[in-house]
């Protein structure tokens, strides 16, 4: 119940991150994207998710999804350029997956990356933890 109140946040070491609190898992030129445990905790309970459509082309920094909680509405930004190849439609009926399992069942999209080198510019685990503690 007490989001943000003395809760330690999980930040898996194998993932890449953005300053806007997205996580990125790059495999074979595909980037699976969600929001971090820290982000879901700040948002509090997500009650509605607006998703992109498959085949949508995104540029780095584009807002591609909207997460609505009881407290606020937040955009999710594309960490890299890419084409949407998979969308987690489960979130439409079960937005709570973002809170319950942000790095697992709460994933949002998979992008087919246009430029694999962009992944190198993302934050690593340590840099992201520093960013959230700053």
């Amino acid at each position: 119940m007490l989001g943000g109140f003395n809760v330690g946040h999980e930040t898996p070491k194998k993932l890449a991150y953005t300053k806007e609190h997205e996580w990125v898992n790059v495999e074979d030129g595909k980037a699976r994207i969600g929001i971090t445990d820290f982000a879901q905790d700040q948002l509090t309970d997500v009650v509605y998710v607006e998703l992109p459509t498959e085949d949508e082309t995104l540029s780095q920094g584009d807002a591609f999804a909207v997460l609505e909680s009881v407290k606020s509405v937040s955009d999710v930004y594309a960490p890299v350029d890419g084409t949407v190849v998979q969308v987690n439609h489960e979130l439409e009926d079960s937005p709570e997956l973002i809170n319950d399992d942000p790095y697992g069942d709460g994933w949002i999209v998979v992008l087919d990356m246009h430029d694999a080198s962009q992944a190198e510019d993302l934050l690593d685990h340590e840099e992201y933890v520093d960013h959230t503690e700053a």
């Binding site: 119940m1 007490l2 943000g4 109140f5 003395n6 309970d45 009650v47 509605y48 609505e68 009881v70 407290k71 606020s72 509405v73 937005p95 709570e96």
Partner: protein, 497 residues
């Protein structure tokens, strides 16, 4: 201050549908149906679905609902940005005058001179208060006023031949803007560009300079801003926007802070809306009705919604339908006339000196409150507050998990409505407090005492509040995820489970 002095009634009251006694005995709403209008069969219904409830039970039902409701007639209602001032009762009988109530909106102008005169006087009064000469009373509420203004700006630039995919296609808003601003701009066909506020919560003039260009159609601003701080650079802001060839729009949300002191026209705005239901004390909250008149410069006047009331030959008031440049009608006939009449009554009752005192008292009340609570609930920036202010409960949140939501919920137990919480989002655990001019010194002190004592109460108690209200902690997450908004939905939900 004792939270145990307040008790809200708690009825286990069924809905009117639950109380339905079935088909009514003979009466004016006889259930026997005929299809004299020859409606297609699929559109003809056996009943209209209105429950039959004895009058005595209906009255008790409504009275019990009222007893379980919190309103400005019940207690202090410091809901920031909503200007929940006590609604003067004086305009009510005036708005209920049969001669006003029974005028048909299609009556001939010469038969409706009385109401047209009132609407004309209100147009004149709003033009003076806003410092912008031309007014349409038609928009139904503030958000529709914003939409109307953005549509007018769009039509103006279309006539100037400046609208294209690359030019006058964008509306700029500060990140502290009310959510309706970007929504209205988007509905009017513009892209929205949000700019970050400076560390003092005001417009970052440098960021604005970088954001505006020939792409910009308008910049939307409210002054004082959402943090209740007066944008001191407003003249510079107007210059930057106008140098880019764009229009400056004033959101009237915070007009209660400047009445008689300055006005949007003097600050350099081209177009604005009024929330007459807020600023001029006609009942609001819970969804209206409101009214959101729009005022503008000479340049934009041809684009205003019509009809507008003008003074014709022989001093008769006439309805003017403008020409093809008008964006047309946005609401039936003349807008929410009942609300408009109340607004005029309030304005006339106060006069310009009285309206100035409204603002002075509203600002003094807000600053009194702020000075008394700022050690426990600090605010970003040192600037003098206007009619409202935003403080943070971050300290309490970090310390013991009592955040803005918890403070708001607990205030209800003291018989005080919660402030606006978690808005604006550029302040963490924000509480946005607007006492208005109608709260007495005693009421303000009671609010201070309640806020301070909540900070000292056992966090476990505060987190479970409210206790003294008709409903305790509601599950807003469940409600937002599974909204049941109509009786039909409730029944389908019950059948399904």
């Amino acid at each position: 201050m004792d939270p145990d002095t307040f008790r809200q009634a708690r009825w286990d009251e069924p809905t009117l549908f639950d109380l339905d006694e079935g088909p009514a005995p003979e009466g004016p709403f006889d259930h026997e149906t005929t299809n004299e209008a020859n409606l297609p069969d699929e559109h003809a219904r056996e009943t209209v679905g209105i429950p039959t409830v004895p009058r005595s039970r209906l009255t008790r039902h409504l009275t019990r609902q009222a007893q379980m409701t919190f309103g400005v007639d019940t207690g202090t209602y410091p809901l920031g940005s909503c200007t929940m001032k006590y609604n003067a009762k004086m305009p009510e009988p005036l708005a209920h005058e049969p001669d006003l109530l029974n005028v048909h909106p299609l009556a001939r102008e010469e038969d409706a001179q009385g109401i047209l005169a009132l609407l004309y006087q209100l147009q004149e009064a709003l033009a003076a208060i806003g410092g912008l000469p031309h007014v349409s009373l038609q928009p139904a509420a503030g958000a529709q006023g914003e939409f109307v203004a953005m549509r007018m700006v769009r039509e103006r630039f279309r006539d100037l031949g400046e609208i294209s995919e690359e030019t006058r296609c964008e509306v700029v808003v500060p990140d502290s803007a009310h959510g309706t601003n970007p929504a209205s701009a988007a509905m009017a066909g513009f892209e929205v560009l949000e700019i970050p506020s400076g560390s003092d919560g005001c417009v970052d003039v440098k960021a604005l300079e970088d954001a505006v260009s020939e792409r910009t159609a308008a910049f939307m601003l409210t002054n004082p801003n959402t943090l209740g701080i007066f944008e001191r650079d407003v003249e510079k802001i107007a210059e930057i926007v106008h140098d880019a060839g764009a229009m400056l729009y004033y959101d009237g949300a915070n007009l209660n802070a400047i009445l008689g002191k300055t006005n949007p026209g003097a600050m350099g705005f081209d177009i604005m809306h009024f929330n007459v239901h807020k600023t001029f004390a006609t009942p609001h909250g819970g969804g209206g009705p409101g009214a959101g008149p729009v005022a503008c410069t000479e340049e934009l006047a041809p684009y205003l919604p019509v009809p507008r009331v003008k003074k014709g030959k022989d001093g008769l008031y006439v309805l003017d339908d403008g020409d093809e440049r008008s964006i047309g009608a946005v609401k039936g006939f003349h807008g929410n006339v009942g609300v408009l009449v109340r607004a005029l009554a309030y304005i006339r009752q106060h006069g310009s000196d009285g309206l100035t005192r409204v603002t002075e008292t509203a600002v003094a009340n807000a600053n009194y409150l702020y000075q008394r609570i700022k050690d426990a609930y600090p605010a970003p920036g040192e600037a003098l507050k206007k009619h409202e202010f935003v403080v943070t409960a971050e300290g309490l949140w970090e310390e013991n998990g009592v955040g803005a939501t918890e403070v708001g919920k607990r205030l209800l137990d003291y018989g005080i409505h919660a402030p606006t919480v978690h808005f604006p989002i550029n302040v963490k655990e924000s509480l946005m407090i607007e006492p208005t001019e109608t709260e007495t010194r005693e009421a303000l002190d009671a609010l201070v005492d309640a806020l301070l004592s909540i900070g000292d109460e056992a966090p476990g108690v505060v987190r479970e509040a409210p206790f003294n209200t008709a409903a305790g902690r509601v599950d807003d997450v469940h409600a937002a995820r599974n909204p049941l908004l109509t009786w039909d939905q409730v029944q389908r939900d019950q059948d399904g489970s």
